[in-house]
Amino acid sequence: MKRTSEESQSRLPDNSALKQQQLPAYRLQLTATGVLSGFFATGVFCLGVGIILILSAKSIKEIEIKYTKICGNCAKLREDATNFDKECTCSIPFYLSETMQGNVYMYYKLYGFYQNLYRYILSRSNSQLLGTDLKDVGSCAPFSKSHDGTPIAPCGAIANSIFNDTIILSYNLNSSIPIEVPMLRSGITWWTDKYVKFQNPRSKNLSTAFAGTTKPPSWVKPVYELDKEDPENNGFLNDDFIVWMRAAAFPTFKKLYRRLNRIQYFTEGLPAGLAYTVTGAVTWLASFSMMAIHLMLKDRKMFFIQQ
């Protein structure tokens, strides 16, 4: 390649900082002051956050009632999937030792329910849930169409496996007459879910809007009859439905069922607080030991340099 000997003019490379690798730059160095102060600061921060979290977590009271065994007969009934439409009720009394102040939330919690399976998560049709194209059930296998070929609405495995237990909280003051605690079923979903992601098909009457579709095989009622009390809470816009459709990340999960009040409150869990505290403590410990080592070595380093 003869270009070495040709183009003899202007072959002197540019004297730019970039080309001469002389760009002004900050040279990162792990200096003792920088590292140690960083560690102390991180330690302080973590400890602080951790303590705040622990304190705030302490004010949260949690009661977990497992009813799988207590309502054993119902569980047994449900083991046979064909009995999905048979009603079964049971009641569990529990006692609150102190009053719960502030917000009260009621969750249902499932153990070992794999909402995060690859095929399960994909088995839904966003365009159907958006109400634009009820017949779009392409991604809903294996629950896309009924045996006779009618598209299912809402289609897919997630919708089909909806948690449909009804939980009623009653208050037994002293007698045997239970007073039902009024729980709010609204405000348990994300705003974007309720107003962007889920929309009912446009029609005056919900039942006509869903004409030409059929209910999921495991459902007792069609989607437009989910809430008989509140006509707005039907179709794809049913809050329980939306909550269920937001698939959980882990096989053990809890989902918000009802709420009692609406005052903002800090609800971080206890483990995070503990983790922060531990991290902060460890960081402090580390920074102290590092400082010790550093100070010890400082003399040695100076000696080495002077050699």
Partner: protein, 1209 residues
């Protein structure tokens, strides 16, 4: 030359060549070549290669298919193609097809663009060479044709200083007897001129009309790569003439001192010996490349292991848990058992986890190397202002290997030296001249020097000659008889030819630059050698012309190491002038002036100590009677049939005795600028430098001293010159014994030499403490490189501080490099300037060519080129070191970030029923490697610096980590992987722990899959960004821009992907609608991200800080301390100091061939005009040439270089 008597049977039918015509079959089976002059039609039958050279690979049409085909031969690319196909299977696909195809297309495109640019430049250079003009004789007239149109059988005309266009048979030339001088530097690196001669019958074809009628046919051997051999026959006018290499002009040679010549093209283009020799360029891979390939294989194995674990997990899960979940999600139709489900999930996981084998790795590495190459091209400090050549990285794939070089093999002539001889000092009758200022003669000190000596009194002086000591000229001017005799000798005793184009414009044709320098010195000091005939020499002595009768030239040869002339001055006195090596000449002096002898010897020692090439000058008066008798004896000896050489030698010996010492000269073989400093610095950087030169031992050793490779402080310099296997073995054994027995040696249980096994030897020899050097000559090297001795040789050589191989052939150069490469597992670098260095440049891991010379062969074969040897220190210590550092940091980080990214899926597998569910959004998976994390690490790989460049020159020891391969090796790789896995564990389990319990601040669930995905992805991006921030040692604006920019782009894309607009358009593609704003608005999520980052980064910082405190590397120390710098600088200066105590070294350093004396005396090389002046007896026409060649071959010592054998069947 005469036709051999016995003709081969094949060509027995006298006269015309055998008439069978044979189509040239496919390539490689050509048995003989026939070319008829001026008959293109006839020659076309054979379909010989045209003179067009093609090094390019593609044209516009073939580019895409051929390039893609080549790219898919890369294992990595095929692997991703395979992945792509896997993803198209719906049962297996766990990721959308675009997660693989986008990076793959990007990678292919980048590589294709690079290949296309490379090929474009190849096209350009091909065109340029192919379009060089040459004069071709077509239909009786000379026509300008580009080189590519020259065909076999054409007659072309060459003019002085032109490159030979193809391999030619020399037909005739402007010089008498069809002689022609060529320089073969391009071919074999020898810069002295060589003589070629046309065969007598064609040498008369001087004019075009006769040449146009020439219809001889050449039948010769097929194309081959033997530069020193050619055999063929010319059939013309019913007779046959044997052809040898002596009649050939090879492509790549340059015509010198010959006005014009005509040649018949025998081999063209790819068939020429030059191109046949250039060989196929081997694709060079760096050790990091090889390591990377191994690691990728390991990672692949690791990937399969993870796949198997997860597949087994899936099978078990489906069996134990999944069966109960089937009511909610029945198996796919294709799946009929848990086992099969596991099998499918294996492939799904291979797809998901494929990002541990990072597709962008290879392309990123190439981009970084390209950046480093550009830095080399752009480096102003490697730009040679004189030659206007910048450094050039011709290969862009080797840059980090420059930081690992352990052995440098250097050519001498043109690389270490400028091949310019400068008359620098002399000693005239006990007084030394020229020793004015500093020894090294640095240009830098020009300002301190006085004006050079003014030679304006002498109209014939050479303007370029520079001498610094005015006292010598004064001595000449005042008429000091010694000084006069001194320069008279220099102007008479030589074999230089002069040419005077115009009055006063003298040109000397010297066979060696040494002689040229001496004669030019005499010329400037007023003793101008003006002209010569076979019998006379005319010298202008201080302005008056004096003609000496030349009675005899007692020619130079390797054994005599001296040359003499016997002249009769106009007064009729006969005097013998002799110059020669001090060791030889000092013994032949008249012993009387002992004092003069001792002072001259002192001067010689002084000169030798400075690395100058010395000669001793002496004369002797002969009386007429004695000379008459001697001339008679000489004639008898020269006519003797047997042992003519010996007899002549003894006759010469007889007369060259009892001579009177005149003085001594010292010629500086001018080193390239800064060579000793560079060598000293590289030696400090633990780089071993071997000099491999075709030059003679004395010259090579001298250069060794002058560039401080050899010093007088050395314990011993071993010289191996044995001619037989046994001798060489013995010499090597002795050298080793000496090294081990010397008191310096550290005896590690080494008392019993018999016990040494060859396996233990190296380690023992490594410990040798004394400084030794090895000088080995070509013929010994030939034995030393044989299979049974090569290890012995290598051990010995590697224990020496310096190794000089002299008189080596290009092939041997390559063999030596190969030997070290094979057995030492070290990175080798070869640097040279000539075509004789091409083989070694190609063999070494890194080849460096010295550019800016006339020849470009070495540059073409090289990976890096620049015009000064001294730039090597910058190339290695600055660019190489940085490249290596950057590449290592890049690789560490790259593997780290991919493991941190990918392993999260593995952990998640245990929580999602091993269903090949990804943790992240698929867009994140697509973009993570190519958008979110690519540019910061690229910026680090291109721009990072640990210490400023001045420091790496000041502390050559900083180069050592590269040689020891410390920054990226298997251990470092596992550390990166471990760190990556650690990060993946934390980025998964911390959010897991938080999400399992926590709820959003409005009480609703936090632990939904999409929020989890966003949290993990965000914390991962932040963690790896902080990590790259820690790894980046040199934060330029670009690094800032890329790091902050990547983070910004991440959030921008995240919010865009999760926006309502995109969801409304493609509800099924963008499922994460609203996720970013809902999740990232949660303080819990941010606390999680902060916690993850802190926990991931803090231990790394702590570890690095402790390492810095407990075990700082040199670069760390350098950064910290200025005190150390001062100390080392002092050390440095110490090492550079020149040892003034010197040994005596003979420096008869004529690098020319012997035999020119005879040539001159025969008058063969003189124009007819000058010949007419002399009535001398003509001798047999070819004997001088014969003897010239014979001697040359003897001195070269290799039988293969012998004279052409007579033709045999």
């Amino acid at each position: 030359m005469t036709v051999p008597k016995e003709m081969p049977e094949k060509w027995a039918r006298a006269g015309a060549p055998p008439s069978w015509s044979r189509k040239k079959p496919s390539w490689g089976t050509e048995e003989e070549r026939r070319a008829r002059a001026n008959d293109r039609e006839y020659n076309e039958k054979f379909q010989y290669a045209s003179n067009c050279i093609k090094t390019s690979k593609y044209n516009i049409l073939t580019f895409l298919p051929v390039n893609l085909f080549e790219q898919f031969q890369e294992v990595a690319n095929t692997y991703f193609l395979f992945l792509l196909i896997l993803q198209l299977i719906p049962q297996v696909s766990s990721l959308s097809w675009f997660t693989t195809i986008v990076p793959l297309v990007l990678v292919l495109a980048v590589t294709a663009v690079k290949d296309a640019t490379d090929d474009y430049f190849r096209h350009k250079s091909d065109n340029q060479v192919n379009n060089r003009q040459s004069q071709v004789l077509i239909r009786g007239s000379l026509q300008q044709e580009p080189w590519m149109n020259v065909c076999v059988g054409d007659i072309i005309k060459l003019e002085n200083n032109q490159f030979v266009a193809a391999d030619l048979l020399l037909l005739s030339s402007s010089e008498p007897h069809g002689l022609c001088y060529i320089e073969t530097a391009e071919l074999d690196g020898e810069t002295n001129m060589k003589v070629r001669q046309a065969i007598p019958v064609t040498s008369e074809l001087g004019d075009i009309s006769r040449l146009a009628k020439f219809d001889g046919e050449v039948v010769c051997e097929p194309p081959n790569n033997k530069l020193d051999r050619f055999s063929g026959t010319l059939y013309w006018k019913e007779s046959k003439f044997p052809l040898s290499n002596q009649n050939m002009l090879l492509r790549g040679c340059v015509l010198r001192n010959t006005e014009w010549c005509f040649g018949l093209v025998v081999f063209a283009g790819p068939d020429t010996k030059l191109m046949q020799n250039s060989g196929r360029t081997k694709f060079k891979r760096t050790s990091i490349d090889r390591l990377m390939n191994t690691l990728v294989l390991w990672i692949f194995g690791f990937l399969v292991c993870m796949g198997v674990i997860l597949a087994i997990g899936n099978a078990i899960w489906e069996h134990e848990v999944g069966t109960r979940f089937q009511a909610y999600l029945p198996w796919d139709e294709a799946v009929d058992s848990a086992f099969f489900s596991g099998f499918l999930s294996f492939w799904s996981y291979i797809i998901i986890l494929n990002t541990v084998v990072p597709i962008s790795l290879y392309v990123s590495v190439e981009v970084i190397r390209l950046g480093h190459s550009y830095f080399i091209n752009w480096d102003k400090k490697m730009f040679c202002a004189k030659k206007r050549t910048p450094a050039e990285a011709r290969t862009t794939t080797l840059s980090e290997e420059l930081g690992q070089v352990e052995y440098v093999f250097s050519d001498k002539t043109g690389t270490l030296t400028q091949n310019i001889m400068v008359f620098s000092k002399c000693s005239v009758s006990g007084r030394s001249y020229g020793d004015v200022f500093d020894v090294l003669g640095h240009k830098a000190e020009l300002g301190e020097r006085p004006e050079p000596v003014d030679f304006s009194f002498n109209p014939l002086a050479d303007k370029k000659f520079v001498f610094w000591d005015p006292s010598l000229l004064e001595a000449v001017k005042t008429g000091d008889p010694h000084a006069h005799e001194f320069f008279r000798l220099l102007s008479l005793c030589h074999t230089v030819m002069s040419e005077e184009k115009n009055e006063g414009e003298l040109y000397y044709k010297a066979q060696s630059p040494d002689e040229g320098a001496l004669v030019t010195a005499a010329r400037n000091f007023g003793f101008v050698f003006r002209s010569r005939t076979p019998k006379t020499i005319t010298v202008h002595e201080m302005g008056t012309a004096v003609t000496y009768q030349l009675l005899a030239i007692l020619d130079f040869n390797n054994i005599r190491k001296r040359m003499s002339v016997i002249v009769r001055n106009p007064e009729g006195r006969i005097r013998l002038y002799c110059k020669g090596a001090d060791t030889i000449l000092l013994d032949r002096l008249h012993p009387s002036p002992q004092e003069l002898l001792s002072t001259t010897t002192d001067h010689l020692n002084e000169y030798a100590g400075e690395g100058l090439r010395t000669l001793v000058l002496a004369y002797k008066d002969l009386d007429e009677e004695y000379y008459g008798g001697w001339a008679q004896r000489r004639l008898q000896a020269s006519l003797a049939q047997d042992s003519r050489e010996d007899r002549l030698a003894s006759v010469y010996e007889e007369v060259e005795s009892d001579m009177v010492l005149l003085g001594a000269t010292a010629i500086e073989d001018k080193l390239q600028q800064g060579v000793p400093e560079t060598i000293a610095l590289l030696t400090l950087a633990n780089i071993k430098i071997w000099v491999l030169t075709g030059d003679k031992q004395e010259t090579a050793v001298n250069i060794g001293y002058s560039c401080k490779m050899l010093t007088d402080d050395m314990t011993e310099v071993f010289i191996v010159t044995g001619h037989t296997v046994l001798e060489v073995r013995e010499e090597l054994r002795k050298a080793r014994e000496k090294m081990l027995d010397s008191p310096h040696a550290v005896g590690n249980g080494f008392t019993c030499p018999e016990k040494r096994s060859s396996a233990k030897l190296p380690s023992a020899l490594e410990a040798v403490a004394g400084e030794y050097a090895l000088v080995i000559s070509g013929h010994s090297l030939a034995h030393a490189l044989e299979a049974d001795m090569e290890l012995e040789f290598l051990e010995t050589a590697c224990a020496c501080r310096a190794v000089i191989c002299c008189r080596v052939t290009p092939l041997q150069k390559a063999q030596v490099v190969e030997l070290v490469k094979k057995h030492k597992k070290a990175v080798t670098l070869a640097i040279g300037d000539g075509a004789n260095d091409v083989s070694m440049i190609k063999t070494a891991h890194i080849g460096v060519g010295i550019s800016g010379q006339e020849g470009i062969q070495a540059v073409l074969a090289s990976d890096y080129s620049f015009s000064q040897f001294k730039f090597l220190q910058r190339l290695l210590l600055v660019h190489g070191r940085w490249s290596y550092l950057r590449m290592c940091k890049f690789l560490c980080y790259f593997f780290y970030k991919n493991f941190a990214f990918t392993m999260v899926h593995f952990w998640f597998g245990f929580f999602c029923g091993f269903s090949a569910q990804t943790v992240y959004d698929q867009y994140f998976i697509t973009l993570y490697n190519i958008v979110y994390t690519s540019l910061p690490v690229l910026a680090m790989g291109v721009f990072d610096q640990d210490v400023p460049e001045q420091r790496s020159m000041e502390y050559p020891k900083l180069y050592e980590p590269g040689q020891l391969n410390l920054l990226f090796n298997k251990r470092e790789f596992f550390i990166c992987i471990a760190q990556g896995i650690y990060t993946s564990v934390l980025t998964f389990f911390i959010p897991y722990g938080v999400f399992a319990e926590a709820t959003r601040d409005d009480g609703s669930q936090l632990a939904d899959y999409q929020s989890f995905a966003v949290t993990v992805a965000t914390s991962l991006v932040i963690v790896v960004s902080v990590q790259i921030g820690l790894d980046t040692g040199y934060w330029t604006a670009i690094n800032h821009f890329f790091i902050w920019g990547s983070l910004a782009v991440y959030f921008a894309i995240l919010f865009a992907m999760h926006s309502n607009g995109l969801f409304d358009m493609f509800p099924n593609q963008f499922r994460f609608v609203g996720n970013a704003q809902n999740t990232l608005a949660q303080p819990t999520v941010w606390l999680t991200i902060t916690l993850t980052t802190a926990v991931c980064v803090m231990p790394v910082v702590a570890f690095r800080f402790l390492k810095l405190s407990l075990k700082p590397g040199l670069s760390d120390t350098v950064r910290y301390s200025q005190l150390v710098r001062k100390k080392q600088k002092a050390q440095h200066r110490c090492l550079r100091r020149v040892g003034r105590t010197s040994s005596r070294r003979s420096g008869y350093a004529f690098s020319h061939q012997e035999g020119f004396g005879e040539l001159i005396m025969s008058g063969k090389n003189m124009r007819l005009s000058s010949l007419a002046l002399a009535g001398f007896a003509t001798r047999s026409s070819s004997s001088w040439l014969e003897s010239l060649r014979r001697r040359k071959s003897d001195s070269a010592g290799s039988p293969s270089a012998g004279p052409d054998k007579p033709l045999k069947g």
